[in-house]
Symmetry: C2
Subunit: 137 residues, 2 copies
Amino acid sequence: MSEQQQEQRPDLPLDVFAAFCPSREVFAELADKWSLLILASLHRLGEQRFSELQRSVSGVSRKMLTQSVRTLERDGLVLRTVHPEVPPRVVYGLLPLGRGLAERVVTIGDWVEANSPAVIAARAGFDEGRGTACEVA
Amino acid sequence: MSEQQQEQRPDLPLDVFAAFCPSREVFAELADKWSLLILASLHRLGEQRFSELQRSVSGVSRKMLTQSVRTLERDGLVLRTVHPEVPPRVVYGLLPLGRGLAERVVTIGDWVEANSPAVIAARAGFDEGRGTACEVA
DNA sequence: CTGCATCCTAGTCGATACTG
DNA sequence: CAGTATCGACTAGGATGCAG
């Protein structure tokens, strides 16, 4: 396995399907449930404090939230604002760059909410066709 | 339609942000890079054989491809067609349900390809502002 | 060609405790 | 309140090898 592929020429279009394209790395980093849910939550509810975010994205641990939000901040998608008060107040909000992505992520969330009954039904049918088919035939 | 596995009352909308909600499980299952890339690839290139898919989604191992594609099939998003020939020929294609999702996933991929330069630039700036104070290499 | 089974490492993730 | 640090369980996921 080679280790260096950073050599990206400007004339080559970025391609998420290419394993060694920088855009693939960006895609892979964003394509996890916590990052996507955080983006969607910030888009839906607007600026939120750390604890608010942890509540709105139900189930996320502090560690994962910290880590994901850090990555998003580093990538220029999210703005982290620290208010020098006591107790400390830290607010996270979408930057323009992040908003563009978040809008698209939200459509995925909407799709899932609208179609998960169909997905679950399909699953049931799939599993059923497996377990009993052997018996019947 | 047969009864649902999960008791879903109409007055309780599915919510991907809720840790306990069935739709969250569906969301979490789809929110990984291989599933998303496979959906996007099937949308972009149409029906593909196993090996074609492995080539178009560069970097995926046979194991992960098999596993992801199977999950997508189970969820009713992808149709797996086995042609009884020798050597065997298996073709994967999007079902209507999957196409709806894939269309939205593609917009994420497009966004990443269009904006990863900005993301990478933001990263550089972020990292610079952190550690570079002591190292100007 | 497709895909399953096995092994095995390395990273993920949660829980807990601690700091500023 | 908002993190950081550490540990440990877990599993994602790659590398074979084999079978249909």
